[in-house]
C-alpha cells in the first residue's frame, strides 16, 4: 500500500514535471495545486511523526528516521532528472530540458544534503560515531560530490550554451557512475549498518506508515521546488529578453 503510493507519486510527479517543462509560462498555474498537495501533506506527516511510538532502544532520536529515509527518494529523483534533462537537451538543443536538468540537480543536492546532515545527528547517539565506513554512507557521499561538482561546473563554465552542454554531459556521466559507485563499495566488502529495503518494509505499522507518508510528502515537495526553480528560470529568461529589447 505504502510502496504503491510512493511509486504512484513518483510517476505522477515525473509526468507532471515533464508536462510543465513543455510550456512553463502557460502551465505554471498548476504549481499552486502541487504546492497545495505538499502543503496538506506536510502537517499530516509532522503529526504522524509526533504521534509515532518512541522506539524503546534509541529513544526520541530515532524520529530523525522520518526525515532521513524519505529524503532518499527526491535525491535519486533529482539526479535522474539531471541526466534525463541533459540527454534531452543534447538531443533537441532546447533550453527547457536544460532548465529541468539543472532544477533537478539543485533540488536533488538539497535533499541529499539534508539526508547527509541528519544521518550523522542520529548516528552519533545510536552508533557512537558521527561517520563510519559504511556502504550506503560512502556511496551517498560520492553521489553528493558528483552533483555538487555538477553545480560548480555549471557556475564556472563560460557562455550559456557551453555551460548547458558541459553540465548535460557531466549529468549523464554522473548517473552512469552511480551504480558502479554502489557496486564498487559492495564488492570491496564495504559492510553496511543500514537496514536493507525488505527490513524497512517490516517496520511496525505506525512507523512504516509515517515513513511512507514522509516519502510521498517529500516527493510532492520536491516536485513543487523543481517547478518553482523552473518558474524562476523562465522569469530570468524573460527579463533577459526584455532588457535586450530595451537596450536595442
Amino acid at each position: 500500500m505504502v510502496s504503491a503510493a510512493v511509486m504512484l507519486s513518483v510517476a505522477g510527479a515525473l509526468a507532471w514535471l515533464l508536462w510543465l517543462t513543455g510550456d512553463v509560462g502557460e502551465r505554471i498555474a498548476t504549481t499552486r495545486w502541487v504546492g497545495a498537495v505538499a502543503g496538506v501533506l506536510i502537517p499530516v506527516w509532522l503529526l504522524l511523526v509526533y504521534y509515532a511510538p518512541i522506539e524503546i532502544a534509541q529513544g526520541v532520536i530515532q524520529k530523525i528516521f522520518y526525515v532521513h529515509i524519505p529524503a532518499i527518494i527526491p535525491t535519486y529523483f533529482g539526479f535522474v532528472l539531471a541526466a534525463l534533462g541533459g540527454a534531452l537537451y543534447l538531443r533537441a538543443r532546447d533550453d527547457r530540458w536544460d532548465q529541468l536538468a539543472v532544477a533537478g540537480a539543485e533540488v536533488g543536492v538539497l535533499f541529499c544534503s539534508l539526508m547527509l546532515v541528519v544521518g550523522p545527528i542520529w548516528a552519533k547517539p545510536a552508533w557512537g560515531h558521527w561517520w563510519v565506513w559504511d556502504l550506503r554512507l560512502t556511496t551517498t557521499l560520492m553521489l553528493w560530490f558528483i552533483y555538487v561538482a555538477y553545480l560548480f561546473l555549471r557556475s564556472f563554465a563560460f557562455g550559456s550554451d557551453t555551460a548547458k552542454t558541459f553540465t548535460a554531459v557531466y549529468g549523464i556521466a554522473g548517473i552512469a557512475a552511480i551504480p558502479f559507485v554502489y557496486f564498487a563499495v559492495d564488492l570491496a566488502q564495504g559492510s553496511t549498518m543500514h537496514p536493507s529495503n525488505p527490513a524497512r518494509e517490516g517496520l511496525p505499522p505506525e512507523m512504516g506508515r509515517t515513513v511512507g507518508v514522509g516519502m510521498v510528502t517529500f516527493i510532492w515537495l520536491f516536485a513543487w521546488l523543481v517547478a518553482k526553480r523552473l518558474e524562476l528560470a523562465a522569469l530570468q529568461a524573460h527579463a533577459l529578453v526584455a532588457s535586450r529589447v530595451r537596450s536595442a
Binding site: 543534447l90 560520492m142 560530490f145 558528483i146 555538487v148 561538482a149 560548480f152 561546473l153 564556472f156 563554465a157 563560460f158 557562455g159 550554451d161 557551453t162 552542454t165 558541459f166 548535460a168 554531459v169 557531466y170 549523464i172 556521466a173 554522473g174 552512469a176 557512475a177 558502479f180 559507485v181 557496486f183 564498487a184 563499495v185 564488492l187 570491496a188
Partner: protein
Amino acid sequence: MSGARVALEVFAKDLRLDLRSRDRLGHMAVFALLVVALISIVVPASKPERLAWSPALLWVVLLFTSLLGLARSFQSETEAGALALLVQAPVDRGWIFLGKAGASLVALVGVELWAAILFAVFLDVDWSAAPLACAAAGLLGAIGLAAVGTLLSALAVGVRFREFLLPVLLFPLVLPILVFASQITADALAGREVSTQLWWAFSLYDWVFALIGYFVFDYVLED
C-alpha cells in the same frame, strides 16, 4: 580520411609532443617520486603494515599523479587555435576522443610502471608475487582514468578555475576505479583469489566510460 586514421594521427601527435617536450611525463615522474618518498617516511616501518597500506596508497598516488597529466591533455590544443582546427576533421569527433585518450593511456601506463618501481624500492613491495594480476589491474585502471580524464579534461578547457574544477569533477567519478584497482592489487599481492565479479565490473566501468566519451565528445567539442 577515415575516423580510425584521425584517431591514430591524434594519438601519434600527442605521443610525439610528450616525447619531445617531456613536460607532461617529466612532471608526473618527479611528482610521483616525491610523493612515494614522503609516504615511505611517514608510513609505519614494519613490513606487514607497509604491505597492507601499499595497494591503496599506490592508487591514490597514481590518481593524483595522473591528474597532472590529464589536466594538460588539452592544453596544447588551446594554443594557436589548434582545437578549432582539430574539430574541422571530417569525421565523428568520437575518434578524436579515442586518439587523445589513447595517448593519455600510454602516458599513464608509463607512470604506473614508474610508480611500481618506486613502491618496490621505497616500500619493499614485491610485484613478482602476482605480476599478471597487478599488470592487468594497472592496465584497466589506466584505461578508466584515461577515458574519464580525457572527457573531463575537455569539459574543463576554458572554464574558470579549471585547476580546482578538474579534480572536483574527476575524483567522484573515478572512485570505482580506485576501489576496484586497489582491491585487486591487495588481493593479488596477499595471495588471495581475485573475485571474477571484480574483474567484470572493472572492465564494464571502463567500457561504459569509453562509450560515453566516444558518443558525447561530439557535443563537448561543438561548444
